[in-house]
Amino acid sequence: MPEEKIDIRYVAKLARIALSEEEVEIFGRQLGDLLAHVNALAALDVASIPATAQVVESRNVTRDDKLRPCLDREQVLAEAPQRQGGFFRVPRIIAE
């Protein structure tokens, strides 16, 4: 299993979480500790073992493409941090 030090700033960027310098230090160390424990899994030979994503029977679930009742738009938008008319309002994403 990989041994190198985790680039915690890069991981936080992928996770969309701003970290303080203190958090970078603490989480970096704690994640390193955890990976040391997790590396125990390298002792097992799993080359020929299939992966388990779901433990019980699962099947593809489909339904008829028909309109059916759903959440009320006003009720849902009432929980939005910012709204504008029938939409969620966010900061500008695409530059003018």
């Binding site: 991981v11 989480f27 994640l31 097992l44 019980v56 900061p91």
Partner: protein, 496 residues
């Protein structure tokens, strides 16, 4: 001294309410008044739903007058605050959802209300159900009713404390790696995690979708069975819920274990837990034998890899599930000039340290270059663990082992994250294999220098879908040993 109405079991309350000897409204008022008297000292509830509870109680009394037969008539239930109830605040114990009002009701909650249960309030939990002590809640402290200087366990600690302190007859919890079974053991309760997929997860705010399962916390096995019977079964709103018939369990409880083979796990040597717990578990195994079970030795050689496997799979799923909390559609938003900074700042301010830790672990384990070494390898070990159980269940009907590796600990006793993760050593393997499992009281242990005896839980687990046998056998054990009745919570206040 006779029991007050709210100290009775859910089964007894429902029978009294159905017989109209007491109304659902009266039970509800007595429960609300008890909560008002003691919950400041326990902190089980984040939100008490006085108005909603009264409305539900009035409806139950009316339905009974109209001749309906309700299996949970008037039974006050405490709902873990990661399950939605329409028009109620649903926080997951997190600042990011501190003020969020759910626009719909979770299927499990809706089914219990339909069976006559009264939602009394929403209970504290570790943030997004990540933790084993309730200390990771951003919104409050919950104390163990059997010793207020100790944690109630977690993550379903608020529901456990509520039921233990008679602030509800039934608690709803969710169990991802032990979050029902461990707090049940810490609070002298029966805590039952059904087979993965038996109870709909619709309206349960997702943590790790391939592991999360809703289940009851109760003061008796019968109450857990009644609750399970009312909420289990296929739900089209949850694509992973199992579409196969549910066998009723409450009517099939056993009085003996005659003819059953119970596996004792060689790899789980209880000597490591100290003399006191070792003796309690060895006595529990002997009691199973006295009740007619044949004890057989089984082995789960890969179970020791359960914790590291879980701490790759659960965080990986969590990092994906919690991506939805970005300040756009609901919950907290920290304003910023561009959307990227808004995400970063909102999540930095909204999530607590344990949630951040797990999102970071999961993001790392899923990231390019590490996926095969971590996540995929963990999924393969998950297969090995499930196969261990399959082999074990070829020679036994149930497996008995500890529910937790210690009794309720003091606040701030586990400062290193990994020592907290090890709390779930005995419960994680069953979760990874999707198996039904429960914790049932099996004795009391007084810690060094501690004055108050603390409850200990025995874990029983069964093959997939064998809920009827599992609850049936647990009832036979409970009925014979009656350990739960040996001590009472410190916060009584019931008999003023």
């Amino acid at each position: 001294m006779s029991e007050t109405p709210i100290e009775r079991s859910a089964a007894a309350i429902a029978a009294e309410v159905r017989a109209r000897r007491i109304s659902a409204a009266e039970i509800t008022e007595a429960t609300l008044s008890h909560i008002g008297a003691i919950d400041a000292a326990i902190g089980a509830y984040l939100t008490v739903l006085s108005d909603e509870a009264r409305r539900c109680a009035a409806r139950v009394d009316e339905r009974l007058r109209n001749g309906e037969d309700l299996s949970l008539a008037g039974v006050p239930i405490a709902v873990k605050d990661n399950m939605c109830l329409e028009r109620s605040r649903t926080t997951c114990g997190s600042k990011i959802l501190e003020r969020w009002i759910a626009p719909y009701t979770a299927t499990a909650v809706a089914r219990l209300i339909d069976a006559g249960a009264i939602p009394i309030g929403k209970t504290n939990c570790d943030e997004f159900a990540m933790g084993s002590s309730c200390e990771n809640s951003a919104l409050g402290v919950t104390r163990n009713p059997y010793d207020p200087s100790r944690v109630p366990g977690g993550s379903s600690g608020g529901s456990s404390a509520a039921v233990a302190a008679y602030e509800a007859a039934i608690g709803l919890g969710s169990d991802t790696g032990g979050s029902i079974r461990e707090p049940a053991a810490f609070c002298n309760l029966v805590g039952f995690k059904p087979t993965y997929g038996r109870v709909s997860r619709y309206g349960l705010i997702a943590f790790a979708s391939s592991l999360d399962q809703i289940g009851p916390l109760a003061r008796t096995v019968q109450d857990a069975a009644l609750t399970y019977d009312a909420m289990a079964g296929f739900d089209p709103m949850d694509a992973t819920s199992i579409d196969r018939p549910v066998e009723p369990t409450a009517a099939a409880l056993l009085e003996s274990l005659q003819g059953l083979r119970i596996g004792i796990v060689r790899d789980f040597d209880t000597k490591a837990l100290g003399e006191d717990l070792d003796a309690i578990y060895l006595r529990a195994y002997r009691d199973l034998q006295k009740l007619g079970a044949e004890l057989v030795e089984v082995t789960l050689p890969t179970a020791e890899y359960g914790v590291p496997t879980y701490y790759l799979i659960a965080p990986a799923e969590c990092s994906s599930n919690l991506a939805r909390f970005d300040g756009v559609r609901y919950g907290l938003r920290i304003e910023a000039d561009d959307v990227r900074s808004m995400y970063d700042k909102t999540r930095a301010a909204g999530f607590g340290p344990e949630v951040k830790r797990r999102i970071l672990i999961g993001t790392y384990a899923l990231s390019s270059g590490y996926y095969d070494a971590y996540y995929l390898r963990a999924q393969k070990v998950r297969t090995l663990i499930a196969r261990d159980f399959e082999r074990a269940f070829a020679t036994c009907d149930l497996i008995a082992c500890p529910a937790a590796s210690c009794t309720a600990f003091e606040f701030a006793a586990k400062s290193d994250p990994y020592s907290m993760y090890l709390m779930d050593y005995y419960t994680i393997p069953m979760s990874l294999a999707g198996l039904p499992a429960l914790s049932v009281p099996c004795g009391w242990s007084t810690p060094d220098g501690g004055a108050l005896p603390l409850p200990v839980g025995l874990q029983l687990s069964a093959p997939l879908f064998a809920e009827k046998l599992l609850l049936g056998a647990a009832h036979a054990y409970e009925r014979e040993t009656r350990h739960a009745l040996a001590h009472r919570p410190v916060f009584e206040g019931v008999r003023a």
